[in-house]
Symmetry: D2
Subunit: 355 residues, 4 copies
Amino acid sequence: MSGNTFGKIFTLTTFGESHGEALGGIIDGCPSGITLDFNAIHRELQRRKPGQSAIVTQRKEEDEVQFLSGIYKGITTGTPIGFIVKNNGQKSDDYSEYETIFRPSHADYVYQQKYGVRDYRGGGRSSARETVSRVVAGAIAKQIIPNISITAFVSSVGPIFINKPYQDLDFSKIETNNVRCPDLETASKMEEKIKEIRKQGDTIGGTITCVIQNVPIGLGEPVFDKLQALLAQAMLSINAVKGFEYGSGFCGAQMKGSEHNDLYNHNGTTKTNLSGGIQGGISNGMDIYFRVAFKPVATLMQEQDYLTQDGKIITQKGKGRHDPCVVPRAVPIVEAMAALVIADLYLQQKAKSKY
Amino acid sequence: MSGNTFGKIFTLTTFGESHGEALGGIIDGCPSGITLDFNAIHRELQRRKPGQSAIVTQRKEEDEVQFLSGIYKGITTGTPIGFIVKNNGQKSDDYSEYETIFRPSHADYVYQQKYGVRDYRGGGRSSARETVSRVVAGAIAKQIIPNISITAFVSSVGPIFINKPYQDLDFSKIETNNVRCPDLETASKMEEKIKEIRKQGDTIGGTITCVIQNVPIGLGEPVFDKLQALLAQAMLSINAVKGFEYGSGFCGAQMKGSEHNDLYNHNGTTKTNLSGGIQGGISNGMDIYFRVAFKPVATLMQEQDYLTQDGKIITQKGKGRHDPCVVPRAVPIVEAMAALVIADLYLQQKAKSKY
Amino acid sequence: MSGNTFGKIFTLTTFGESHGEALGGIIDGCPSGITLDFNAIHRELQRRKPGQSAIVTQRKEEDEVQFLSGIYKGITTGTPIGFIVKNNGQKSDDYSEYETIFRPSHADYVYQQKYGVRDYRGGGRSSARETVSRVVAGAIAKQIIPNISITAFVSSVGPIFINKPYQDLDFSKIETNNVRCPDLETASKMEEKIKEIRKQGDTIGGTITCVIQNVPIGLGEPVFDKLQALLAQAMLSINAVKGFEYGSGFCGAQMKGSEHNDLYNHNGTTKTNLSGGIQGGISNGMDIYFRVAFKPVATLMQEQDYLTQDGKIITQKGKGRHDPCVVPRAVPIVEAMAALVIADLYLQQKAKSKY
Amino acid sequence: MSGNTFGKIFTLTTFGESHGEALGGIIDGCPSGITLDFNAIHRELQRRKPGQSAIVTQRKEEDEVQFLSGIYKGITTGTPIGFIVKNNGQKSDDYSEYETIFRPSHADYVYQQKYGVRDYRGGGRSSARETVSRVVAGAIAKQIIPNISITAFVSSVGPIFINKPYQDLDFSKIETNNVRCPDLETASKMEEKIKEIRKQGDTIGGTITCVIQNVPIGLGEPVFDKLQALLAQAMLSINAVKGFEYGSGFCGAQMKGSEHNDLYNHNGTTKTNLSGGIQGGISNGMDIYFRVAFKPVATLMQEQDYLTQDGKIITQKGKGRHDPCVVPRAVPIVEAMAALVIADLYLQQKAKSKY
């Protein structure tokens, strides 16, 4: 199987370049008989959309999904769900000069080396615009897992962190601010930071934390498709992601076993949850939580050195409309990828559970 | 495809429980005509083997691999390589009491919940002994990628870190000490720490850093099989791993774009390498480096609360011979999994490269 | 992987129902740098199109393919090729009565039983219209295998057979007649037969023979992905196909070894080719040839008994415009599926061949 | 996924050469909690074993399977089932001369061309001995599908056919004779034929018919994993198979729609079953039946021309102990492969069925 498919039973295959006619995908393996909530799908697309607030790119993308198959009278039929999202707002001429130059820390150079040819407009296939298809599929994936709750939020922007465990946060506040941070005081500091960075023509990284609640016990397929292994693959497949940790994460590496072990309650739940809801690669019914690191956006509104195809270095300033901080817009993408992992493992477990 | 297979062209499927008759696997898709270096395979198994030094478990495992097919007169034939590693040193009676109790932060409970039945001896399938098959396959994978160099080492034990970039380390020192740390001063502090922890009947976590050199440009299959995404899956599939970061990693999330971007040299290499050798999911020819976090071993030689199958909490002390710190022995496992990822992507790139 | 994907490296995933907005697919794993011959793709679609002659359905389908990604300035970029074919000519109201009745020897009943819900218009997903996506992908697959020649033709209609080995036929005559039979005398008998059958409001089956020439030695992946095994899967996945045989086929089962063995020439070719170009699952460089059996179309322009959803039997006559014999139109579909098999195995062999 | 794995959820990966130390495989995805009937597994191996009667090869193979994992106290644990079958009775020196010569209609030549190196002893990987692993896995697969009945028998040997529909046969007679033909009169003619052929130092082909009863409605995953498409792949992956047909098969290609359509009864069953229990790629609850053609064994006890590695033709007589007719021994292999197909589709349907 080639690299544009994710999942084994509930699968998503995507296609599309930033400035092609459309992006889209095929969801195969979606169970039949599900009355889809199209508003929920639309809502997720709106959350991912550029141009939502003063701190993100002002580029306009319509991002209306068009379903072409697999759904009849609003109900999934069990056949593959084909969908497209048209690229209306793109201006190709903005990018023509990128045919022969390679931007630093972009994929331009490696695509040229790997494929010998590339659609250089707006990053082509390597553009984060590709994630629009993941958001569509994730929004459907969420609807096949009963009672699941998947919530992501911005937990840091540059040096500014939320200093509370997720249990002390009010998730209903996430969508009330531009950075999608549930701690409002921190949120406003983050927003200030992003504005300051943008004034400098610079960009900044950040982290997203994701919490998955009401996960049935038993999801995950050891030894290679452990739940955390698939979450890690899913997250690292998102543009600009540099790291993943779950439960105690990198902090756990500094701890002693006597501090780290989660002791049981009588009913099989645990008193603490440094394990992050997963043991031996299998969900244990506790909250799953993980953190994802995003590097700063590579396109700067400052002068930088670029490489040309004939081996010269030229100095240039980034063009177009870009996010100074991509992290707020990545929140629905993290949720979508988590949903794809859980949905697929949920169906696998259904297949093999005792009968 | 079920969860015990890794890879798409060069694939490893493993089987085996800690206390069954044997563990093993099948490597399918290995190119023909490769004269195998069996000493190299043996050496890797020795590195993973328990009982190598005073700071690791004194449990004895022979760990001799027996190849059953796919190799004729020392040369790979292109047919599947079946192999087994017998479980000689196991004493099953040590574990009989674990039939009805669940150890904290072990996989006992979730296996029972997921499968309804389990081989409880020594962790069964969830035992780290399963990684012996990965080491065999990794040692073969390394031999199919020309010039590749994959080097892992212990970069922290609990609070003790190497405070140097990997470029300043002498990799030839890694195997000269029990903790597999190339910085000898730090190594001896780590060793002290582990001894101290063992005296307490406790355990401790740590991190491993891995550096892959001489990687051809162009490996990685966007968008879901990005090189870093598969490395992340591979690492998080190893027992006790809690986190993965590559290049700038979580630190990158605190940086500005103007600090983080890697500027080009005329020949396409970069002056810095915060990208960690990967752009847009594809190797760019620079060193790939990443870091993996391991939690402390869950079995303690102290009293702890265990859950029984009928919902009681009992107090007990761990039995058997266990590592106070698993990280030194995990070094060859990290290398093996990295080799599996690179070998598979190398063959995929061969398939699709221009002809 | 769910059931709408074919192939392992060069993969096709399809979606679409007969009367939905569009059908289409994603080709993933196509090598980059191929200058596509779009006329060749168009030509194949025209061959599959209904309404081409007096003996096939007069239903009109435009069948224009629209490529959405993976191709830039006419050259493949190595990224997934998304494409759609719109359903313009469909009239949904023709089919509304099929919501609650099941036609004999159609998929209506099993789709209802399997999925609980179905798009009943025109057969929905089970319609042969789905093969339009295969023809698009097959036309691209042919272009990645150097020098390959894949030629299918109608070798029988009902009781009327070509009584010559394929070596005695002039393939350039295939497209000169409505039944796509290279033997013109037989072709006109077949055409008469089909006209006669149509007058009766009946339908008739037939066979297609396919010959693949200039296949490199070494394609096929034993033991389960033998070349003939994948061809068999590919052919049996086409609507209405009931059988597959290659080389000596079912006749071979009546022969003695001394009659059946193909003796070698000095250069490794064989004097005879009862093996059909494949030994042990691997192409041997001789012509590959196979035969595919199609049942008669199930929709009759006569009265027949139908089952209703509430268990009644009603008598009714088929509606719409249907082929009395589907075999001539299936010729390009057989070729397309053969091309998909060969292209995928060709890339697999490239991956694993010695370097 | 490489070519030695079959299935998507219930998967079998096999390894092993004819004269290596052992053959074996890994069954992954087998549900947990199944109390295995080991006698049933043993019985199937006995049926496949050489040397069972006067009409098959007198070569001795012990064919004892040894399970290494995935089963604890006789119950499947849901973890991969590793198994081996040792090659005890092989004498390698018998085959040493085959290093540099290629037997006609054997896989020797193509293996040499594809892989550049081969284990030439007894056919190596291309030997039918490989099917021993399939029989083990098939015997387990049968045990996970409730009530299923899979029965294969020899329906023709050379020109001698059973001239009755399968419904008129007494399946309990299959194992009462050496050719595994339920019609005893035909059986004795077949046996005579095989003895006559053996006296000539020749071999002969034949066909096997397989009937699958009590299949749940709804198995099969259109469009590429249609039930008949996977059965076809499975059958054509067996050594010496040249053709597959199901239901009306090649005869159906000569029929009219008015003769071929299966009319419904009120309860959804059909009055006739030319469809062979499958519509649109999905089981409809009626009997599934299909027929498989086997070519005559290529090794003859007569003089024949062989090709040498340096391009000479030499005359030689086959050596070793070989079946004059392989068809009786292939009966359990056909059943095993059918069981693998059904088991995998059964689990896939469980995954996606409504909840």
